[in-house]
């Protein structure tokens, strides 16, 4: 059983469209991170959310931490080809990160 389930697993959209990626768990977390990973590279941190209900914006990306701190979402407005990549949510429990199952996003020009 995965600690963090992400949906959808794959997403292919046209440039300019909006999209939302979800990260869900039955566990409560003190914080959650979102990463983007491009092929052949390591994950790069996008944001850390720590407060239930928190909303953070990073240019066209909007991140929300659920009120109960069990889930999170990532919304991308007007997607661009440069947004293509694997989006991973992750939580730090003890000394290790648990990563979600990942959402592979392809933005078609």
């Amino acid at each position: 059983t995965q600690l963090l389930e992400q949906s959808p697993q794959f997403l292919s959209i046209q440039e300019g469209e909006n999209l939302t990626v979800y990260c869900n768990s039955s566990s409560v977390f003190s914080s959650l991170q979102w990463y983007r990973q491009e092929p052949g590279e390591g994950p790069v941190l996008l944001v850390t959310v720590v407060t239930g209900g928190e909303v953070k914006k990073l240019k066209r990306l909007t991140f929300q931490f659920g009120d109960a701190r069990k889930d999170s979402s990532l919304h991308i407005t007007a997607a661009q080809p440069g947004d293509t990549g694997l989006y991973l949510c992750a939580v730090l429990t003890g000394n290790q990160f648990y990563f979600g199952t990942g959402t592979s996003l392809t933005v078609i020009p």
Binding site: Q33, E41, G42, L92, G94, N95, F97, Y98, G100
Partner: protein, 114 residues
């Protein structure tokens, strides 16, 4: 400042062989973690070392081992390679163990076992 550097970038090994992967953390970072990422999946935790001591171990067989040196660089060793060990091996460094220190990942070592 140099980021997390991993070597080699790519490696091809035969089943049953041994492999050593290396990681140099960001200067000043004392924590190094290792992850295995199979194609299409999220990274899976293998080990964490902090101040040269093992602080965490994931659900991997004893064929996997690691160590951290006095300069905080680290090696991941895998013995008796299996086809299923083919993956991207990622190293992450941090100034400490808590999330607020921030973790930075290297670009990984792509291991192919044939």
């Amino acid at each position: 400042d140099a980021g997390v550097t991993q070597s080699p970038t790519h490696l091809i090994k035969t089943r049953g062989q041994h492999v050593t992967l290396r990681c140099s953390p960001i200067s000043g970072h004392k924590s190094v973690s290792w992850y295995q990422q199979v194609l299409g999946q999220g990274p899976q935790f293998i080990f964490q070392y902090y101040e040269k001591e093992e602080r965490g171990r994931g659900n991997f067989p004893d064929r996997f081992s690691a160590r951290q040196f006095p300069n905080y660089s680290s090696e991941l060793n895998v013995n008796a390679l299996l086809l299923g060990d083919s993956a991207l091996y990622l190293c992450a460094s941090s100034a400490g163990q808590r999330i607020y220190y921030g973790y930075t990942f290297g670009s990984g070592t792509r291991l192919t076992v044939v």
